[in-house]
Symmetry: C2
Subunit: 389 residues, 2 copies
């Protein structure tokens, strides 16, 4: 069981929004006003809850009380009706929780794009989730926000000696770049953190975690990472301490998302070193992680390293093949522009574990970054060929 | 049979560079000096023949005589040895054809990245292809440059009344964006065209043809489109007439490449209208065509139009969902930010032919562009999981 920080409760229920009848409405509630910060999708086609969420944080970044999430319908490409439905579901939640203002309720949706929310079912779901709220509710809520995810994802960091903790959940399996329509995550802490500091720490944490995973290169209409700090512990950690803990929790959740990528059979760590800048390392790593040719080669356990060097070459960064070196696991396959006389059997063996690591040194500087992804399998095609059925 | 323009011959032979023993060395020869222009991959990791080709055209854009192409080995990521091998194969070809200068021989390679060219086999292949040269050799050459291609690709445009013609071939099936390591194409004409005009016309033709197809979003290390004009007809068409014919031939070849995309079961035409600029229309179209989620939905014949609107949203272009409209075949599914009350069965029917068309109007201006791609199937994964074996 994953414990929630002090002052938080969570609950979930099956409201028949998902066709398979599994839990699909989750509610997270703080017993007092919480500071809040969020990172949203950069997609110009942003879902109704994203549009509403951006507005809410302009006025209520210091007084959030609840987060309502439904799975099964993304409420994206739904126009004015979609915005009204997002607002109405927040209003229903606020009424049920005896909150003064519906703007204290943040909403998120995930699922198929282009369908209106089934408001009758969602209303019943809100009542049910509110009944189910408990201090032990994080695991149930984590399961309710899943779509094509195979496993629920939670993370928790506790500083028992210092008296504060942090816990959260994430969902996402396809359309991860960071994109089924969506990557959603809620992280909660009982530490005392101002909204301004929370925003800054979240941006840094997101950059090193959720923005370093990719499943298929599709950026969704709904991606949202929300962090709430309700101060219930009374402890005010230093900025460094808080940012480090938040980053650690986000990296943990992000890696779980990549590992559970749609149809994934392997978890791939791509380490880029020797870059001119951290940004360059990130861009090269993300380009490699997004390439269908790289991802299918891992699925086939084929040490086809040329595809990795090729992807680095079209990343848009100013790389130079004669300065590059590449390792599969511990096998050095490419050095300064030419293949090494490596042992093909050893390279193939390095591809066979479920967790594989690739290390590309660009030979340009001292900066580095690590990116996580998964392979692309027959199952990915099966899942996405019939996603709506 | 696809006839060559006047003064050109082609030949092909099996030199055992491909593991399957099929023809793998092709030679194209002009009986007199030809003007030449080329468009190359933008990948920073450019293969040895690309590096050499760029140099040759600086000095011999008015005096090319032959093109040597091998399939089965890309001669990419091969360092100085690779450059030397590219040069040596041109030298062998020049000697065999009694040419004064090896720089009159353009070389291209396609196949696996990171292997050195098997020079003994290639030398034997050059002798064989030179023996096989004939005015009827285009179809045999088109087959010899194939890698994972299922069908050979040729195009021909003849202006019988005007006395000049144009014919060419292309290969490419994966790593098409415009990327197996490669898209290669050779187009030949007997029209009289200066090197400067040839370069200009080729750039315009490439932009509207090969740069508007995508299979998997991977830009290869070897992509090369070469055009030769030997003037053997004695006819000098106007710039407009020549550019139009060249564009038509390139569009024909490019569409054949997209249709033969690795594992493709459908050919998809994506028409973008109402764009603020042609470039915007191109970028939006290419982003949609590259999305694995869009491509798998077509494979599954699932009218999941939300993925198309979503991809337009993350294209980086300044689009506005409330101005967009989308049609599958003739079925209007999305209008000004909201779903239309369309008939789901009709939308699914619109997905079922082998050739499907999507039309997205951005509602921002008058510019338009059409992009061509294919679906992504289980077979794509099978082909690319074990490409080297």
């Amino acid at each position: 069981m994953t414990n929630l920080p002090k002052g938080f409760r969570a609950g979930a229920v099956a409201a028949q929004i998902k066709k398979n009848g599994k839990p699909d409405v989750a509610l997270f509630v703080s017993d007092r006003d919480a500071a809040a910060a969020a990172v949203f999708t950069t997609n110009k086609v942003a879902a109704a809850p994203v549009l509403r969420g951006r507005e809410i944080l302009k006025t209520h970044a210091g007084s959030l009380r609840a987060v309502l999430i439904n799975a099964g319908c993304a409420n994206a490409c739904t126009g004015d009706d979609g915005l009204r439905n997002a607002h109405d579901s927040a209003q229903t939640t606020a009424t049920e929780l005896h909150l003064a203002d519906p703007a204290q309720v943040f909403t998120m949706s995930t699922g198929v794009i282009g369908m209106q929310l089934p408001m009758e079912k969602l209303r019943v779901g809100i009542y049910g989730a509110a009944q189910a709220l408990s201090e032990d509710g994080l695991d149930a809520a984590a399961a309710a926000i899943m779509t094509t995810d195979v496993v629920p994802k939670t993370a928790r960091i506790e500083f028992a000696d210092k008296g504060w903790s942090l816990a959260g959940t994430a969902k996402g399996s396809g359309m991860i770049h960071p994109n089924m329509a969506t990557m959603l995550s809620v992280v909660m802490t009982d530490a005392v953190v101002s909204p301004a500091r929370l925003r800054l720490c979240l941006q840094n944490a997101a950059r090193r975690s959720f923005n370093r995973i990719t499943v298929d290169g599709d950026t969704s209409t709904n991606d949202t990472l929300l962090v709430l700090a309700n101060g219930a512990s009374g402890i005010k950690p230093s900025r460094e301490e808080f940012e480090e803990a938040l980053t650690e929790a986000c990296v943990d959740l992000a890696k779980q998302v990549a590992r559970d990528g749609e149809g994934a059979t392997k978890f791939i760590t791509i380490r880029i070193t020797g870059a001119a800048s951290e940004k360059q390392a990130e861009v090269v790593g993300r380009t490699i992680a997004t390439s269908p040719l790289v991802k299918t080669a891992f699925y086939g356990e084929d040490a086809n390293w040329g595809r990795i060097v090729c992807a680095a070459g079209y990343s848009g960064e100013d790389v130079e093949p004669t300065k590059m070196s590449l390792w599969f696991g511990g096998v050095h396959v490419f050095a300064f522009g030419t293949p090494t006389p490596y042992d093909e059997a050893a390279a193939t063996r390095a591809m066979s574990p479920k967790d594989v690591e690739v290390h590309l040194d660009l030979g340009l500087g001292d900066a580095h970054a690590t990116v996580w992804t998964c392979d692309m399998s027959h199952e990915y095609i099966t899942i996405n060929g019939k996603d709506r059925t």
